[in-house]
């Protein structure tokens, strides 16, 4: 197989969600003289684009989009030694977490993974996160966006506490705040002074993309 054929084969095995094959072709492509940059641009990025399109056209499931993203990440890890410090550019940075008192994190996890697939750098604080931890992360990581999730009505009120804590620390103006989760509504988002709201994961990611585009 030529270098070009190998690059296509990596792309196709990503589309087929086959990690083993994509790894095998990646190693072969490197041997055949492909640069890591070529693999990232021609194989991974194009593969992800195809998968994304198939998802948009309802041919693929969201879960398959996530699996493809994971494969892409794994291949990037293989390429790391060859990249020599030339890190891939991220479109933006998001600090994300489920608020204090709420142990439901699956919705938050889906959003985090979709953000990563959309080439955001994601700092995931996990579930049951107190306001101080959000503040600390904003201080240390200097993100573009803070995302909060709550499944329960009882814990939803915590979101306001986080925004208040950010204000107190003088960090509120530095970030956009988006919230989501079963209990949350657009009205609630407005009422506590969040900048945005995602009715579901797809919408949440769309809002984040728009924000970094506007920058």
């Amino acid at each position: 197989m030529s270098k070009e054929e190998l690059l296509d084969a990596i792309r196709d095995s990503i589309v087929n969600l086959d990690f083993d094959k994509s790894k095998e072709y990646t190693l072969k492509a490197l041997e055949a003289g492909a640069t890591p940059q070529e693999i990232i641009l021609k194989s991974i990025a194009q593969g992800m684009e195809i998968v994304g399109k198939k998802f948009e056209e309802s041919e693929y499931f969201l879960s398959e989009l996530i699996v493809a993203g994971e494969i892409g990440k794994e291949i990037t890890k293989i390429l790391e030694p060859y990249l020599k410090g030339a890190e891939m550019k991220k479109v933006g940075k998001v600090v994300i977490g489920t608020v204090r008192g709420d142990l439901h994190d699956i919705g938050k996890n889906i959003v985090a993974m979709m953000l990563e697939a959309a080439e955001f750098k994601v700092i995931d604080l996990g579930a049951d996160v107190p306001p101080e931890k959000f503040v600390e992360a904003v201080k240390n990581e200097n993100p573009d966006i803070v995302g909060m999730s709550a499944l329960l009505t009882v814990t939803m009120v915590e979101m306001k506490n986080v925004i208040d804590a950010l204000k107190e620390a003088g960090l509120r103006e530095k970030v956009k705040v988006i919230i989501g989760g079963a209990a949350v509504t657009e009205d609630y988002a407005k009422s506590i002074g969040a900048d945005g709201y995602g009715a579901n994961a797809v919408e949440g990611v769309r809002v984040c993309k728009q924000w970094v585009k506007q920058k």
Partner: protein, 449 residues
Amino acid sequence: MKFSRLEYTPKDIVFGFSKKFLRYGIDLEVGNGLVVPEIKYFPRVEKNVMEEYKHITEQLLKRAVALGTESLQLETELTYLEMEDKKLVAELINLQKSMIERYAKEHGLHVGYRVTVADIRDFGKPRHDEESFNKMMEIFELASSNGADVLSIESEGGKELFNYSIIRQDLTGIVSSLGYLATFDMKRLWKNIVSIAKNKSILAGGDSACAFANTAMKIAGGLKDNMIPHSLASIVRVMSACRSLIAFEEGATGPGKDCAYENVYLKVITGCPMSMEGKSSAVAHSSLVGNIIAATCDLWSNEQVENIKLFGGYGPEVFLEILHYDTKLMNMAIAGGQQYCLRDLMIKSDKLLNPQAFVLSPDIVYEISKVIVGEKDELSRTVASAIKAIELMSNEEKLNLSKGEKRFIEMAKRKLEEIYSSPSQKVEKALEQYVGKVEKLRVKDYLEA
């Protein structure tokens, strides 16, 4: 006790009848030829908790009298916040029970009262958050001594790995979670709950796999949502049945708690009465199984509704009225010997539209349950039942399956058969790799507990 045979054939299982029917609470009979509404509710956050429960209880009992609902069950699902305050829990259970007793006496109602304890454990903490575990057991004790007739929980052992796996449609992870990790936790938990219930002569109800099958259903969404395959959600349901069965193996007697729609399996296998929720639980989550699930229920429920003001009353009483008419129709069918006719309509309504409904059809449940009781341990039955489900889905030509669903089913078949060839080795090897990668996963704490 391991169940080794089935209590029903697909022909004779039907709503309102269970082989091991129960008498409890205030003159309540469940599973002896009557379907009983089980109403669930939760207080508004911004209100005083005790006042909310008082208001909810009063409106429900009043509405039951107004409608002529003779038998009903109330279920209080304690919230995370309520769990923090033992005194409050004791008071509120006491309050509800005394109101129930007063109304029952005045108006001749037959009432059962279920209390469901929240699983507040943080599985990322050492020894799986022993402090929280102990608190949960104290609350079970409190509930028992203050008036609960039935104890339940939706326990979450194994969910950290499940959450990681479900959105990646990673079957090894799902099997390791439901068929392995969860089983250790279920056994420990239910030994304790059954002993508390026996001490107080009340009922150990059961443990619905809310964090698993219900989560998978919610993520799968509507017919055209393409979040995860519906066929994946449906094998998660089957695997969840294997997990939830453990409560009964440890001595639970029902009525089973439903949230994950796995109870029809438990009814076929154990013969104990079961609560089910379907169309009327649209208030809490949408489903594609709204009618079919009613076909075999003994209690019929609405999931949970907030105590919110609607034009026709507050949320709980409005949904009690809807449940009242649903159950009345079923009971009328029983009275006239037409229960099988109505049951078959319920089944036909949903069965072929979606895999999630398909695996709830009594004939399919029967085939898969045979596999469940035929396997030697929890892990093998988890894998084997899923394989059987996949097989039945692919053999049913009339089942509505998109291209993507078919692609998944092919993949799942290969993957599950591979695991089935040596389940414990595959799972143990996989778990080594998940540690570190999956947040909060502490495999050792499962094995040692």
